[in-house]
């Protein structure tokens, strides 16, 4: 098994509720234990299946991709949706989910 850290930032994280560690206005963090060889797509899809807020706000299970207003980073590097989903996760990887928004 490997451990993957998931961070959901800003107002996205706030909507996910109490099952996240370090829930705050800034970021919600938790670690997941998954089997070796899992891809990012399958990892997030599994979370979306389990957690309604992720299903509704982060990952579109129908299209098997993040919603358009989401940007994801892997180990603090933005990952293009065209290349990200089939990447196999390694122990200690960190996926960060950020909102894209108008303004600022």
């Amino acid at each position: 098994m490997i451990r993957i850290k998931l961070e959901i930032w800003m107002w996205l994280g706030k909507e996910l509720g109490e099952d996240f560690q370090s829930l705050s206005e800034m970021r919600s963090i938790r670690e997941e234990e998954v089997e070796e060889g899992i891809t990012i797509r399958d990892f997030i899809d599994r979370l979306a299946q389990r957690d309604q807020p992720i299903r509704e706000k982060v990952f579109d299970r129908g299209r098997k991709s993040f919603y358009p207003h989401i940007v994801a980073t892997l180990n603090e590097r933005v990952i293009s949706p065209y290349e990200v989903y089939d990447r196999v996760l390694k122990d200690g990887d960190k996926i960060t989910v950020l909102p894209m928004y108008v303004g600022g």
């Binding site: 940007v71 933005v78 960060t96 928004y101 108008v102 303004g103």
Partner: protein
């Protein structure tokens, strides 16, 4: 006026002769140009021929409200300023929130056209359909807050009895990025419109508040749609709870926070420099704009650090970025102090910060000595040095005289390697305080392509579904971003015709329904896009008429629709490391031009495009 939302009158002020006149607005003109930037773009085109420089008395300075301003739509106190601006020597259009857009109408006018140049410093007072040009020599040299205070005192009016917008020392001294500032913290900041105002010897404009003096066709429907729009705004991004700085850390996460003049994208202090920190640590008081329930504007008292006790407007996103990471500062109190200073002096914080960041980099790398900088030790994060430098710029004193020309001109004058370190577009304007090389390619492209000197088409590449456009999947796709900018083009300019704040009016379709309720029109979303595109094409024709260059026409000149070397460079670290927008820039341009109905080589609107926009032939 039988159209709801309009007073039906435009005031003309000839500052050379001291005469004012009033013209009734023509129905067909209103229907074609709507208001705000639409009125401004058309008047600019009709009245400012080729050859007129930004500082010529014959340049126009056009202040226009819109049909929703003062209507009861929440936060509708916005107005637009249009002119030929000094940074680009092309059209400049910029909006300010606050109260003026509503009070302008309550004073009897949908807009004011300034022309000529007064023989000495004056201000304009408008009230009850009358206008008076008054002596302002006693206000010379005062900053914008001192000017507001002095005028309120001598008029004997309370804070919100009048709305006052004016210029500070920067505008009086012709700093090319001077802003028009008013209502204690609102700015029409882009393309040096404050310098145009200064060139006309116009210090300020005072408009009186009052009762609504125009018709609303369907008040019941307006209330229903306005309330729905407020509910939408409450849940739209971070703005309702945290203001525009609520996205500061999210922008850091996608590589969009400008850090030390693009030399890095690493800024671990971001969580102590955002609005979440400010609003949970500093004392906060609400300061809403005209009839605004969203009320994202606040006043703060700094409660920690060297600037403890300092009271000022809350720094919004652009100020947070400009006076935080871009200049290497990690003290949030200092950000509030510098935001207040640059506003008081009457300058655009974005251009000022790009200029300061470039100066610090040049100093660090030995291009400037301390002596060159009039003794200032301009290292990263030295905020008191920055404050002194801002004052030197506003007064064009010493090195400030060079820096008052903006970062493009200053860097070209210094030349050598230093010329490659400045962040700007080749048109001469600069971006808002983002690092657009991160997840905001749509805005980088827009900033270079703009006909107004500030953002023209995009909403940062997101929320496409709100205007019935397909979702975008990759913010780093050359294809998607250039196509999105073209497809999205129009709705933002339409919005800028209406006299509303974008933070309070976040839902274009509901906003359109509000407009129809006020005016009695039955405009569709497609109509809104078409009106916005008409404005874009009008401004583009104006810009070509005023010398916007293309490679094909003048080979020795640089093409203007392009970022500077540093602005278009590849991030060396951080979330967007290695992303290269310039790889397909020429393809992006051609794709965008084609989708806009412009010549794919020259970027000029094609005759059929102008006919479709109900504009005359290209001239």
């Amino acid at each position: 006026m039988d159209i709801g939302g309009y007073v039906g009158k435009i005031l003309r002020v000839d500052l050379s002769s001291g005469k004012t006149s009033v013209k009734e607005l023509d129905r067909s003109f209103i229907e074609k140009w709507v208001g705000g930037v639409g009125f401004g773009a058309r008047c600019l085109y009709e009245e400012v021929p080729a050859g007129v420089k930004w500082s010529d008395p014959e340049n126009r300075l056009i202040w226009t409200s819109g049909p929703l301003a003062g209507s009861g739509v929440y936060g509708a106190g916005t107005f637009n300023v249009a002119s030929k601006g000094p940074l680009t020597n092309l059209a400049g259009c910029s909006q300010a929130n606050g109260f003026f857009g509503a009070y302008l109408k309550f004073s009897g006018f949908d807009g004011i056209i300034f022309q000529g140049k007064a023989s000495n410093l004056v201000y304009l007072l408008i009230k009850d359909g009358k206008a008076e040009i008054r002596d302002a020599r006693h206000l010379a040299g005062k900053d914008v807050w001192e000017t507001e205070d002095a005028l309120r005192r001598e008029l004997g009016v309370k804070e919100r009895e009048v709305s006052i917008f004016g210029i500070g020392p920067a505008g009086e001294n012709g700093v090319l990025y001077s802003a028009i500032v008013g209502d204690r913290g609102h700015l029409a900041a882009h393309n040096g419109l404050g310098a145009v105002m200064g060139s006309k010897n116009l210090k300020a404009v005072v408009a009186y508040g009052g009762k609504r003096n125009f018709e609303i066709k369907n008040s019941k429907l307006l209330k229903e749609k306005n309330d729905a729009m407020f509910e939408h705004a409450k849940g739209f991004g971070p703005f309702y709870q945290w203001g525009t700085g609520g996205g500061f850390s999210a922008l850091y996460g996608i590589g969009c926070l400008p850090v030390k003049n693009y030399n890095t994208n690493i800024f671990p202090e971001h969580e102590r420099m955002n609005s979440q920190y400010m609003r949970t640590h500093f004392e906060i008081r609400s300061k809403p704009c005209y009839m605004c329930r969203v009320a994202h504007m606040k006043e703060v008292t700094v409660t920690e650090g060297p600037y403890k006790g300092f009271v000022a407007e809350e720094s919004e996103y652009e100020q947070l970025a400009a006076w935080g990471p871009q200049i290497g500062n990690t003290d949030l109190g200092a950000v509030v102090m510098l935001s207040d200073e640059v506003d008081r002096l009457g300058m655009d914080c974005n251009e000022a910060s790009w200029t300061i960041g470039w100066v610090v980099e040049c100093y660090e790398k030995g291009i400037f000595s301390q002596k060159d900088l009039d003794g200032l030790d301009m290292k990263w994060g030295k905020v008191e040095m920055v404050k002194i430098m801002l004052n030197k710029i506003a007064k064009r004193e010493g090195i400030g005289d060079l820096l008052a020309e903006g970062v493009m001109r200053a860097s070209k004058k210094i030349g050598g390697e230093a010329a490659n370190w400045a962040i700007y577009t080749l048109k001469g304007c600069t971006s808002r305080s983002h690092d657009h090389r991160g997840g905001r390619w749509a805005e980088l492209f827009d900033t270079c392509l703009t006909n107004t000197s500030t953002l023209e088409s995009t909403w940062a590449g997101v929320h496409t579904q709100m205007v019935d456009l397909p979702a975008v999947s990759d913010p780093f796709s050359h294809e998607e971003m250039s196509t999105l900018n073209a497809k999205f083009n129009g709705i933002r300019q339409f919005d800028d015709c209406l006299g509303t704040c974008r933070i309070a009016s976040t839902h274009p379709k509901l906003q359109l329904e509000c407009l129809n309720a006020v005016t009695g029109w039955e405009l569709s979303l497609e109509d809104a896009f078409n009106i916005g595109r008409r404005v874009i094409n009008q401004l583009r024709v104006f810009n070509f008429r005023h010398g916007m260059k293309k490679e094909e026409e003048e080979e020795e000149e640089e093409e203007e629709e392009r970022p500077s070397l540093r602005y278009g460079s590849i991030p060396v670290d951080g979330p967007a490391q290695g992303k290269n927008i310039m790889e397909k820039w020429d393809w992006m341009l051609k794709n965008y031009y084609t989708l806009m109905g412009w010549d794919p080589e020259t970027g000029k609107p094609l005759p059929k495009t102008l006919r479709g926009a109900r504009l005359k032939r290209f001239d």
